[in-house]
């Protein structure tokens, strides 16, 4: 069961992050103060990418709740870092971000780390 829950967490997180990053960058730089954060809320409610992103995040969150209930926090959180590997690849392929040797090496190290944590 823990692997099913983990897969749901990872897949939903990846989808949510890609949608969010795509839309927020399309919208341009946002004000970062407390008022700026409040101004984000109506913007979220109007945008279909962000709504979909929030739905994915909710799925990910409820699966994570079930995972963290039965598994140690020191497993659940590092294991969910698997989403980072998938996202680095997809950030390059879909968002056209440049990954390069250093980012690639970093991602590979994180992958090795997750494999150890998951054993």
């Amino acid at each position: 069961m823990k692997w099913i829950l983990l897969s749901v967490v990872v897949a939903a997180t990846v989808l949510s992050d890609l949608l969010q990053s795509y839309q927020m960058k399309r919208a341009g730089e946002q004000p970062a103060g407390a008022r700026g954060l409040l101004q984000l809320l109506p913007r979220i409610a109007r945008n279909r990418y962000l709504i979909l992103s929030i739905v994915c995040l909710a799925f990910s969150f409820f699966a994570f709740m079930a995972l963290v209930q039965t598994e140690p926090l020191s497993f659940a959180v590092p294991a969910s870092a698997a989403s980072f590997i998938v996202e680095t690849v997809l950030a390059k392929l879909l968002l056209k971000e440049q990954i390069g040797v250093r980012k690639g090496l970093g991602a590979a190290l994180v992958l090795c780390g997750i494999m150890l944590v998951a054993r």
Binding site: A66, S74, V77, E87, L95, R102, V110, C112
Partner: protein, 150 residues
Amino acid sequence: MTEIEVQQVIAPRPAFRSKGFRAYILLSAFLALRGFGNLSLAWGTKHLSGALSMNVLSYGRALLDPFVALAIAMLILALLVRMALLSLADLSFVLPMTAVGYVISTLLGKVFLHEQVSPERWLGVALIFAGVAIVGSTSEKTTKELDLIK
């Protein structure tokens, strides 16, 4: 062209610095909220009766737990901070930097939930951290315009 874009064209360095500084402030706030939010969530759900994965209705009861409710408030705030951060910096910068949170959560699990963390798992967490440190030294923003979906 907005004022910020003009600044980047004329004097790219100072604009990059102040943007970087704001990014790190938001990053710190995010890490604190995420770490303690997860801890509160773990504490709250572990004290519930019945497995959440077995009964969808049990989520309703779980949300009434004070620790779970506190966790959700902190994690929602963390999400908003992170969205502001994503508007300043690339996903491939934000993701690895926020991965420091995986180390923080392992520590919080050990200290507050008295979890056994094997040397193998610590090595895994250290590798995640090393990967994060390497990626963190790359530039924050590499894309100018997106043409993913028109």
